[in-house]
Symmetry: C2
Subunit: 219 residues, 2 copies
């Protein structure tokens, strides 16, 4: 038996690859179970490695692994908002919401656990990671709207709509993913325009944006 053959395949991964592999394994476990129901043994088993190896990469144990997995999920969520600044605005928003809902669909229970808090491993650090994604989403929307200096009414409208998207996603998971995802997406995009229109009544900045979006739609 040669030395190479006796070496398990996983030895050949680089540190970065190994780390990514462990995070993937953890993410897919967190995706289907609440963090408190996932043990390091489960992660080791899912990745096909030993428990000590998981500890070598994440000496802080489960809390550290959970936070790293959360950061990696947050990174993935941020990519949902990577939408080129071309074409009419509402279809851009629809595509971003589509990618977001695909993430929700894929990560399922892990997404709920992540957003609903109440998890035993929830800390102000993990809350900050989730808040960072919300802030990034708001900034993306404002940049697509072409707004440099959003007033408080416009900011509140965008932030409240982002919360509505989160809440709708959680309820959608709760309701066995009904209505169909395409309907949910259209409903959310239409809601965005509806709440913007409500704000427009009192806020000239928002009124100008609504006008612009609607005229681009017609064009």
């Amino acid at each position: 038996m040669s030395a190479a053959a006796s070496t398990p395949a996983y030895r050949r991964l680089s540190v970065e690859e190994r780390r990514a592999q462990l995070l993937d394994a953890a993410l897919s476990l967190f995706a289907h179970r609440a963090p408190e129901e996932v043990s390091l043994d489960d992660v080791a088993e899912a990745a096909g490695v030993s428990r000590p190896l998981v500890y070598r990469y994440f000496p802080g144990g489960k809390q550290q692994l959970y936070e790293a997995a959360l950061r990696s999920a947050a990174e993935e969520l941020r990519h949902c908002f990577d939408e080129p600044h071309v074409g009419p605005l509402l279809p851009r928003l629809a595509r971003a919401v589509d990618r977001y809902l695909a993430f929700v669909d894929e990560h399922d229970a892990g997404f709920s656990a992540l957003l609903q808090g109440g998890s035993v491993v929830e800390t102000s650090r993990t809350t900050a990671i989730v808040d960072g994604v919300r802030r990034a989403a708001a900034e993306h929307i404002l940049s697509h709207l072409g707004v440099k200096d959003p007033g408080p009414r416009l900011r509140m409208t965008v932030r409240v709509w982002i919360t509505a998207v989160e809440a709708a996603s959680l309820i959608w998971l709760d309701e066995d993913k009904q209505p169909p995802v395409a309907e949910l997406r259209d409903w959310l995009v239409e809601q965005f325009m509806a709440v913007m229109a409500v704000t427009a009544v009192r806020d000239p900045q928002t009124a100008a944006l609504v006008e612009r979006v609607l005229s681009a739609q017609d064009g």
Copy 2:
């Protein structure tokens, strides 16, 4: 010196009165500071009693006191929804939102800490208390709408709007209570009609409700 004079006034309170007094003191502390920044000493001092007395009433210590204060706040929040089933619907909703925002205004940082989680004393039990208030709010709205058997689209619309109200309240506190509370209330009520109207496009049950609310407005 008579025996009566040497007995501190607080000895004369009944068990229930004492408990209520301690909860009041705790609530007003939690209202201005995050739960983790409030100690039992602070509560004893605010209520003008000794620390052992606080422990006698809440032997579970701060966690028990926090949960009891949370339940008491939840009870108070539920009263915001006590609106007679008379008159046009939107003014009823406006009055309920008014009371809710008055609660938010009064409890301030305690309200944020309560809803935002991330507190060190947050547990699945405290999350359940907050969720109970959300459910009660949704049931109140559906009963005012006169709906016995709400479909999934209507339920989602009402629940998402309730989350939007919470999010807007938190942002409003963050933004030094701007815009003025009356504007925030009108904006939230108008948002309710706007998101109901969006749902009405696809949901006959919601469409019938919107029709009825609008015709009552005209009448």
